[in-house]
């Protein structure tokens, strides 16, 4: 009888632990499946596009209480690519991203608000060219958690986030002077992975 009770207790404890572990899953950003893209108005003609190649970070998703979720992303500013080498160099200069002095762009969430079954608003500090500015992103979780057949122990999932960065908040006066923006639309598609 004692053995049965002990077994039940152990089972409940393990289930609780397991539940807690599942409730807050930490995914590491897969550098091969992450797209941080941006679009900016080019003198009214069209929306110029670009992306960053090197992105790292982690996402902690608490399914039971989404407000306890966390996001931390680091972007290598030198990896900017707008499909034109000269423009990439221009954007790396102190007129824009100033990569020689501030090679990293970081975003760390400070609050997450649930807005739907798989959506929420993520507020956090965006640190760019030496300035910290609060930014809010509209985020969606794909809801899909699955593994590749050849790597069954690594669970993958995906997130999408969009937001607007105001160039003036970072003192990027050259954005407007060059007939760009002034707002920069940011779209982030991230696949994260965790080991079972």
């Amino acid at each position: 009888m004692k053995t049965t009770h002990l077994g039940v207790l152990t089972g409940v404890a393990l289930a609780a632990l397991s539940s807690a572990a599942i409730a807050a899953d930490t995914y590491t950003v897969d550098p091969a499946h992450v797209w941080v893209t941006f679009a900016v108005n080019h003198s009214g003609w069209d929306m110029a596009q670009g992306l960053f190649h090197n992105v790292s970070g982690s996402i902690t998703l608490d399914k039971d209480d989404v407000t306890k979720s966390k996001v931390s992303v680091k972007i290598d500013a030198t990896s900017i690519d707008t499909n034109f080498a000269q423009r990439n160099s221009d954007l790396q200069s102190p007129d824009f991203l100033n990569v020689a002095e501030f090679p990293a762009i970081t975003f760390d969430s400070t609050a997450v608000e649930k807005t739907g079954d798989k959506s929420g608003k993520i507020t956090g500090n965006l640190v760019m060219i030496g300035k910290t500015v609060p930014v809010t992103l509209d985020a969606t979780w794909s809801g899909v958690e699955a593994a590749y057949p050849w790597a069954p122990d690594v669970i993958r999932t995906g997130f999408t986030a969009t937001g607007v960065v105001h160039s003036a908040d970072f003192g990027m006066t050259k954005v407007v002077e060059d007939g760009l923006g002034p707002d920069i639309l940011v779209t982030i598609n991230i696949e994260g992975e965790k080991t079972k």
Partner: protein, 277 residues
């Protein structure tokens, strides 16, 4: 957009340069103050007022202008023959400026890659031994600084740093306008009515424009390092350029200007070699 670009980069700095030359009407005492005022105004027009403390290096340049004015005032008490002191003062300032400007870049391991920045520092320090010539040859140093600023503007533009190509261009427009007025006064035989830039004011402009060159050299993403070394030679030339005393006075600035322009003429092809649109 382009109207504003031309206005802030060329037209207004040119007007400031005219004002600087005409300020000589009120004597030489206020020339340093006038030079500090117009150069700072030209910078603020293009880059805005920097916060304090400055975050990015380009915001430090206005503070360097203020410090350069201090260096110029100290240099007033150093006799021209005390060359070691002049070199130590100017070189020390320019080296300090380079360290302060580049501190964030150096912290991430870019020290050796920036060794070529020693060129404007050494050239500027050496050139300071020839600053006293500005008292006898009012156009020698202004012409040198115009050539240096034009070279720096081209290197910066080709180096993908358009913002400071504008700042260097504004320096060229400002000092060029001053030189133009002085040359017209020379042709008209009315030089005596307008005080020239004092050696102190010339020292201020020299270390300030050299500081701009240093910033461009450190931060233009695709800078031509060889171009920076070559254009820096402009700072050395005023020490050696002949007086051309036997030539007509109106011809002297032209001859000197041709010599002073040689480094910039040489630096442009070097910058173009790096530039790949």
């Amino acid at each position: 957009m382009f109207t504003s670009l031309a206005l802030n980069t060329v037209v207004l700095p040119f007007a400031f340069g005219l004002a600087l030359a005409l300020a000589g009407r009120f004597g030489s005492k206020g020339m340093l103050g006038a030079a500090v005022l117009v150069l700072s105004a030209a910078y603020v027009l293009l880059e805005g007022l920097p916060g304090f403390p400055p975050v990015a290096s380009k915001q430090k340049v206005l503070y360097l202008f203020a410090l350069a004015a201090g260096v110029a005032l100290v240099s007033r008490f150093i006799p021209p023959r005390a060359k070691v002191l002049l070199v130590a003062l100017t070189g020390g300032f320019l080296l300090g400026a380079a360290v302060w400007l580049g501190i964030n870049k150096f912290a991430s391991g870019g020290v050796m890659a920036s060794a070529f920045v020693l060129a404007p520092i050494v050239a500027g320090a050496f050139g300071s031994t020839g600053l006293h010539r500005s008292a006898r040859q009012p156009l020698l140093w202004p012409l040198a600084l115009v050539c240096l600023a034009i070279g720096a503007a081209l290197l910066s533009a080709f180096g993908a740093f358009v913002g400071f190509a504008q700042v260097a261009g504004a320096c060229a427009a400002l000092i060029g306008a001053y030189a133009l007025v002085r040359y017209i006064l020379l042709l008209a035989g009315r030089e005596a009515g307008f005080a020239i830039l004092s050696t102190t004011a010339t020292t201020f402009l020299t270390v300030s424009v050299t500081s701009v060159v240093i910033l461009i050299a450190l931060f233009a993403p695709t800078i031509s390092q060889a171009g920076v070394v070559v254009v820096s030679l402009t700072l050395i030339l005023p020490v050696f350029v002949p007086d051309f005393a036997s030539q007509p006075r109106a011809l002297v600035p032209v001859l000197q200007g041709l010599i002073l322009a040689l480094p910039t003429i040489g630096a442009v092809p070097l910058a173009l070699m790096i530039h790949q649109p």
